[in-house]
Symmetry: C2
Subunit: 162 residues, 2 copies
DNA sequence: GTTTTTGCAAATGATTTGCATGGAT
DNA sequence: ATCCATGCAAATCATTTGCAAAAAC
């Protein structure tokens, strides 16, 4: 979608939910759209490029409200600050790199229902399932290979010197 | 395992990891064992039954250390305080009730590897997958049925009165 | 006795809230 | 003109940290 079309779409959706269309809200939406998996802090920095005076608290309030009306989605990785994304409505999961912290979307190909078939649900009526993968992203895999190679070189030199 | 056997097991494991065995650590382990999915706050309350003087910060330090040596496991549900459990090592997931917040274990029957087979992993080397189910527990299902029944009664009486 | 643990106070980071003003409809 | 949204300050909540005293080895 073009930036213009996005803006119109957001405006329409805000109005549809009885929310007023303000430059602050549009700026927050733009920032979240521009940087998927952005933290509140990153969003604040980005929004301030356009609206220098906006306060931290306003951005938090706006983020919470946009989350309520499902225009954005909040994702809370364990142990770090919440991330916000414009991708909503579809059932997708996240993969976080345990080395650099980068978060990537993972499409759920199994439909909206729970993706596992566990034996023991204690009679609970399941509404949704969130899946968080932890792993090492491609960049960090390369970086680790490089480190291993360097460590081997150092070890070889130490063996020579002794 | 009997309380006594548990205590000996913990003692052995602490020693094996080079940790000193203190009454504080044992009390924390006991509290976590007694109440699976306990919050730090609940653990502090429980431990103070035995060790009235123990401080909040000590319990946090102990919990972090016990988590490091894998004697307990930390679970961070989105939007609420961390929970601690003694069940470690095996791959199990959690189901949280969106109404009362109760957390229950869900056995993962698919083995230790990622339980989904998503198409799009971005080349990431996956190490583990955490799954969080959201739903309504049996108690809350009953409570909701009761509420619906009462609402229908009220509606019926209103219809009669008009 | 030495080193790790604990106790205490104070700080931190993320996020929320109450109240007055300002802007969108 | 009306009422929701924003700005501001201060509070809250969970958790961490630095340093001195106490306890386990």
């Amino acid at each position: 979608m073009s930036p213009q079309a996005l803006k119109e779409s957001w405006t329409a959706q805000l109005r549809a939910k009885g929310r007023r269309v303000t430059k602050q809200r549009l700026a927050v939406l733009e920032a979240v759209q521009a940087n998927p998996h952005a933290t509140a802090d990153q969003i604040i920095q980005a929004v301030r490029q356009e609206l220098a005076g906006i306060t931290v608290q306003s951005v938090y309030v706006i983020l919470a409200d946009l989350t309520d009306i499902n225009l954005i989605q909040k994702f809370e990785p364990p142990g770090s600050a919440s991330l916000y994304e414009t991708r909503t409505g579809d059932n997708h999961h996240h993969a976080v790199c345990i080395r650099c912290g980068k978060v990537q979307d993972v499409d759920c190909t199994v439909g909206a229902a729970p993706c596992l078939t566990p034996q023991n649900f204690h009679g609970m009526a399941i509404i949704s399932a969130d899946v968080l993968y932890r792993g090492i992203c491609t960049d960090c895999q390369k970086a680790e290979e490089k480190e291993v190679a360097q460590a081997q070189q150092v070890a070889a030199q130490a063996a020579l010197a002794s």
